[in-house]
Symmetry: C2
Subunit: 196 residues, 2 copies
DNA sequence: ATATTTCCGAACACAGTGTTCACTACTGAA
DNA sequence: TTCAGTAGTGAACACTGTGTTCGGAAATAT
């Protein structure tokens, strides 16, 4: 990632480990997974693992950071740029559908609160920015923006989790519609009545 | 709990253990707390612990169940029964304020997703019932009721957590107002337009 | 071919878990 | 007071999982 070429096998090993952990996480609770389990599945030696990561948690975080990035990225610059809404979440559900296993690892089963919180924080910040842009400066909300961001992110994650737990009963578009319906009226309600 | 009297010291020991765990949990992550830590703080012998609880998690759950009960109870039959809204959450914030440490143990810091999920599930069910009562049968929502319940519970927990993390900047009444503003318009939006 | 990097796995020390057991402390009834 | 019964104690133990170390194997580059 720095010189553009020299790391190939390094990343391979790391990828093996990450995928092993993801696979295991979609099957069982994170805290019941032992380092040995990961090693076995990835077919990697013990000392090799510890030469790459300090412990299990670091592996987790490193893997999740990737996902977090692609998530935020998906939200920030959606493929089809029709900005009917400030926050179009359809691409996000799309993305989640494509990388099912990966997302299931985060959301599914017992989840890992550490990660959920991290995602929620970033997502919340992003939403906050978005909102700030939306009500360009002078207009103020009843409620602290930070809380609004937090809230919106939380609803989004709740919907995502529900979607997974119920085997994706609706299309991404439908889920986005539900999201809009549930969240936007509430947001508007916290603003002083003023339409452009 | 069966003969109505004979347990006094039994419960005392259990209470000591629970409170020790709660105290520790408001200070550090659940999974970094060792049984020995609990023992030391409660000043209880090792074997005594294991004669009461199978493991750390059972202690956790037993303690949390109590909280869950009082939470639900508070929501179900609020002290001051002015039913202006279907879901008045003010008593809940009140309750949370009074038992600060206890709630902080659940919500604060890293939290324990196991518990949060359990609470969310119960709360969600309760809300679902409430909603079902509200739109008395014939009126139907756009969105599955189970999802609505889930959603409302999640928002409530998010607000609670935010409240704690920010050292309770608003009064319970204000928090309830925010809750109403954020959630109710969205709920109404999912109903076919029809006012009584 | 050789130097370098990466990986391996056995061995180890260590921390935490959950069990066992002989013992002590308290309680209430005869 | 004595005695039985119940609850609590703590040391010892086996066991599981963690993270480190190190000599050597294997792959890779030069």
């Amino acid at each position: 990632m720095k010189h553009g070429k020299p790391d190939r096998r390094v990343t391979r090993t790391k990828h093996l480990l990450r995928e092993a952990l993801m696979g295991l996480m979609s099957e069982q609770r994170y805290d019941t997974i032992t380092v040995q389990d990961i090693l076995d599945r990835a077919d990697i030696g013990r000392s090799t693992f510890y030469s790459h990561y300090r412990d299990k948690e670091e592996l987790l975080i490193s893997g999740m950071d990737d996902i977090l990035h692609s998530l935020i990225l998906t939200l920030e610059h959606p493929d089809h740029c029709d900005h009917k809404q400030i926050l179009s979440t359809e691409p996000l559900f799309q993305h989640a559908q494509e990388e099912f296993l990966l997302h299931k690892a985060i959301m599914g089963g017992q989840g890992i609160n550490l990660m959920i919180h991290k995602i929620q924080r970033h997502l919340g910040q992003h939403v906050e920015e978005e909102l700030k842009k939306w009500l360009h400066g002078d207009q103020m909300s009843d409620v602290p923006l930070s809380l609004l961001g937090h809230h919106v992110a939380s609803v989004l994650l709740t919907l995502l989790r529900w979607w997974f737990d119920n085997n994706k009963p609706y299309s991404p578009a439908r889920m986005d519609a539900i999201f809009q319906k549930l969240v936007m009226p509430g947001i508007r309600e916290t603003m002083p009545p003023q339409d452009t």
